[in-house]
């Protein structure tokens, strides 16, 4: 149900663009919605991150994934069980840039015996990495639409991304990698019973949405080519706050742009906020140094517990009889 619903929403957005642009609402789609979406994204995501940041961290509870630092002759795992900020930074960098925890992933099977068999399962890690890095490269490549002249690093990135290409237009590797990765991520949610069972409409929706963005982008670039000079006029206009809309830009561009706007606006309200949240996860971004350095709970409040006096008052006679020292004879 969730899958059809999510697919239908993406199709509905595309149909809306057809209807809207057909009715001459170009300004709405090319100027107003992009501004709204961008603002929603920036304000929304900032709000979410600040909001998390305002929640207290009462206890230092990292998940330790290796040997602690203890006796000098025992080799500690400094990254998976960090005690310093540098080590925590290293753990976080590996987590954020290489998805290290996901790299550990295993698959469990129950065989005759009974016997549980654990095997390495790297496909999810690979697909996740492929998707996120392709997305990042594609996003950065798009900065060429917002700068004149196109900065060197972006041109260099495009050169690398199209390394295997002969002829024109340049075929970017990432365009295909992202589509394959997205299809795999979607496939998991449909074909694996457990993953299907846990999937919500909000899990399918971003996949369809980004697939729509990628597909419209690829169509626009290789098949139903649009007036690229006109597109850059629009994007430069948006960037310089003097929006202009040249005539004759194909509908496919408006579809692409509307889906991107949807993604940006949807972002802060969805699970996609893991982009910010991953940095704030206390089980990963704290050091396992509680026995070394004090951690203060900002909302700690005094509580009354049973005092030794109360304890001794209850058991004094028994303690004396057993020869256990007491405070009051």
């Amino acid at each position: 149900m969730g899958i059809l619903f999510s697919f239908a929403v993406v199709i509905a957005i595309i149909l809306l663009v057809f209807a809207g642009v057909g009715a001459g609402l170009n300004y709405l789609f090319a100027v107003i919605l992009p501004y709204i979406a961008f603002l929603t994204f920036v304000i929304g995501l900032t709000y979410r991150v600040v909001n998390w940041g305002q929640s207290a961290v009462p206890f230092r509870v990292p998940t330790t994934g290796g040997q602690q630092t203890s006796l000098p002759w025992i080799r500690a795992n400094k990254i998976d069980n960090p005690t310093t900020s540098y080590a925590v930074a290293a753990r976080m960098i590996l987590e954020v840039l290489l998805f290290r925890s996901l790299f550990r992933n295993t698959k469990t099977e129950l065989r005759e015996g009974p016997r549980l068999i654990y095997s390495s399962e790297k496909l999810l890690w690979l697909a996740a990495l492929a998707f996120h890095y392709s997305f990042l490269v594609i996003l950065i490549r798009h900065f060429r639409f917002f700068a004149v002249p196109v900065p060197m690093p972006i041109e260099f990135m495009e050169f690398i991304d199209s390394f295997f290409q002969v002829g024109a237009p340049l075929v970017y590797i990432t365009n295909f990698v992202i589509v394959i990765a997205l299809f795999y991520l979607l496939y998991r949610r449909i074909a694996m019973p457990q993953i299907k069972y846990i999937s919500l409409p909000s899990d399918y929706f971003p996949l369809f949405l980004i697939l729509g963005i990628a597909a419209s982008g690829i169509i626009m670039r290789y098949f139903d080519k649009v007036d690229i000079v006109g597109v850059k006029q629009i994007t430069m206009g948006l960037a310089s706050f003097s929006p202009t809309i040249p005539d004759g830009i194909g509908i496919i561009f408006y579809i692409h742009l509307a889906l991107v706007c949807t993604l940006f606006a949807y972002f802060p309200f969805s699970k996609l906020v893991h982009l910010g949240g991953v940095f704030l996860s206390p089980t990963r971004n704290l050091a396992n140094n509680n026995r070394l350095a004090r951690h203060v709970n900002p909302w700690d409040y005094p509580i009354k517990s049973r005092s030794y006096d109360d304890y001794e008052n209850e058991f004094r006679d028994k303690m004396k009889k057993a020869g256990i020292p007491v405070e009051k004879e």
Partner: protein, 539 residues
């Protein structure tokens, strides 16, 4: 109270299907299966520590005699905790349901109930959070994964949050470190706002508040129990050992889990420790009040946990010791490592721990001033301070179970292994995916070690037991060593069920066997007072 449900036979129980039902989870209310949940708590235990809504109720009935404004209480509780715990707040928001955690949970692997996939266990609460605290949930309801808080939902959360042992294995594999333990802890706090705890947790809490330990041992009983062990030690070694209780001016306060003062096989651990301390001439004392490192308050609410841990530093201060030595216990070390100092520190009245025997300064404990006994003993052995005869353990083929808490909330892996390798000749590791940070829970942690939920425990312990079975079949392993009192209480049942013939012991029992004491009689008995087999004999 309901009668104990007998678990099905192992070959029956191990027929597990991991395929979820066709109907969605939101439309499937929890089905309370006897053997998979504990009794609801009796009112007297709640009253003993001043917790809200004491009443007698039964988990198997549909009417839980909730207060009229129960919904308000839960929602207010969620709101408050979103601000108090960044873990909870972030973990409610960022899960992408990638499913990496799904087959990492021992309860899912042993039972196949999809709501025991950590992701779904979290969603049970997350769906309520979305409904009342997020824009998308308010606007789009079920399409945004949100649902109303109803009594069915509350019952479901209760059922499944007491089918989680807070072992953190899911957290290790989660790309964002989402820790179901943290969510379970907070979920249970919310349930405790309505007086909805289990008897097996609340009983020990009430005991611990009054007597200092979960078992309710009064001071003279503690002394008597230990003296009984000293008699056994005399029979075994010929040494009449003495120990002290509540002695002021001792250098070290030793705090063990109370399970080691009472039951088999924990008492053998305490015996090993008593022998060790005697042999090295340690100036230490027991406290009859701080006689429990474990803390079932941690399975109740943070406030109760803090309350029960007051005795640790206050007794150390009253007795005027220099530092604290902590015994072999799992969640004791979760708390001593991650909570004790924040709750009741700074321990500036103590000194940075220094081993009086080797002179080693335990720099890693210079804040809390609490040392783990395997750190202490490993250091002794490394410095050649102990004479050991590992052949006395030759009748044992040993494997080591890392406890969840000491593994994933501390990282103490090498210290116990070093000791085992020095005191035994036959040590075999279980498969790599089931040890160290990837260790599997015993299935009975976080207060689930009751009698009425044995099926749940046998299911939850299945992955652990299955790994033991592997080394049993491969190498003839017959002893499962560990550094946790819950393990020592829970694993014997688990082994009898899945791997009959495999015993359970603490590391310091093995040490006690191997320890050659000055002037001892020739040992013919092990610490269990069983005859020692011919030296060098493997059988």
């Amino acid at each position: 109270m309901a009668t104990k449900a007998k678990p099905p036979k192992p070959d029956e129980l191990s027929k597990i299907s991991y395929t979820p039902p066709p109907k969605g989870w939101m439309d499937t209310p929890a089905d309370f299966k006897p053997g998979l949940y504990c009794h609801g708590t009796r009112s007297k235990y709640l009253e003993a520590v001043g917790m809200p809504y004491p009443r007698d109720w039964s988990a198997s009935e549909t009417d839980w005699k909730l207060p009229d404004n129960w919904k308000e209480i839960v929602l207010e509780g969620i709101k408050e905790r979103l601000q108090k715990y960044r873990t909870f707040h972030v973990f409610m928001d960022i899960c992408v349901r990638c499913g990496a955690c799904a087959d990492k949970c021992h309860f899912f692997l042993g039972g196949g109930d999809p709501k025991n996939m950590p992701v779904l266990r979290a969603e049970l609460l997350r769906s309520v959070y979305r409904k009342y605290f997020t824009t998308s949930g308010k606007l789009f309801g079920k399409a945004a994964g949100a649902r109303e808080l109803s009594t069915d939902v509350l019952r479901e959360i209760w059922y499944y949050y007491f089918q989680c042992t807070e072992c953190r294995r899911c957290s290790l594999f989660c790309p964002y470190g989402i820790d179901q333990a943290e969510i379970t802890i907070i979920g249970r706090e919310l349930l405790n706002l309505l007086g909805l705890n289990t008897d097996w947790i609340m009983g020990p809490v009430a005991n611990s508040y009054r007597t200092g330990n979960h078992l309710g041992l009064e001071p003279h009983t503690i002394k008597a129990n230990i003296e009984f062990m000293l008699d056994d030690i005399e029979t075994i070694t010929g040494h009449k050992i003495e120990t002290t209780f509540n002695r002021k001016g001792a250098e070290i306060l030793f705090i063990a889990p109370s399970g080691d003062l009472f039951g088999v096989p924990g008492n053998y651990v305490a015996m090993g420790e008593l022998m060790l301390f005697h042999e090295i001439g340690l100036d230490y004392t027991w406290s009859t009040m701080a006689c429990e490192g474990g803390n079932f308050g941690f399975f109740t609410s943070m406030e109760v946990a803090k309350k029960l841990y007051y005795k640790i530093y206050s007794e150390a201060k009253r007795l005027g010791v220099k530092w604290i030595l902590g015994g072999e216990c799992g969640h004791q070390w979760r708390l001593m490592n991650q909570y004790l100092d924040t709750w009741w520190g700074p321990a500036d009245f103590l000194e940075v721990p220094v081993s009086p025997i080797t002179g080693t300064r335990f720099e890693n404990a210079r804040g809390t001033r609490v040392v783990h006994i395997t750190e202490f003993t490993a250091d002794l052995i490394k410095h050649g301070k102990l004479k050991l005869d590992p052949s006395r353990n030759d009748h044992l083929k040993i494997t080591f179970h890392d406890s969840c808490n000491t593994a994933r909330a501390m990282g103490i892996f090498e210290e116990p292994r070093y000791i085992i390798n020095q005191v035994c000749n036959h040590f075999y590791e279980m498969p790599e995916s089931t040890i160290r940070e990837k260790t599997f829970c015993c299935g009975s942690g976080s207060g689930l070690n009751a009698g009425e939920n044995v099926e749940l425990r046998m299911r939850g312990g299945f992955p652990r037991a299955n790994a033991v079975k592997y080394v049993k079949d491969q190498f003839g392993v017959n002893m499962l060593a560990n550094i946790c009192a819950i393990d020592r209480a829970a694993l014997p049942t688990l082994m009898d069920y899945w791997n009959p013939g495999v015993g359970v012991c603490g590391v310091h029992e093995l040490l006690g066997n191997a320890l050659v004491m000055k002037g001892e009689i020739e040992r013919t008995l092990d610490l269990r007072t069983d005859p020692l087999p011919e030296k060098g004999g493997v059988e």
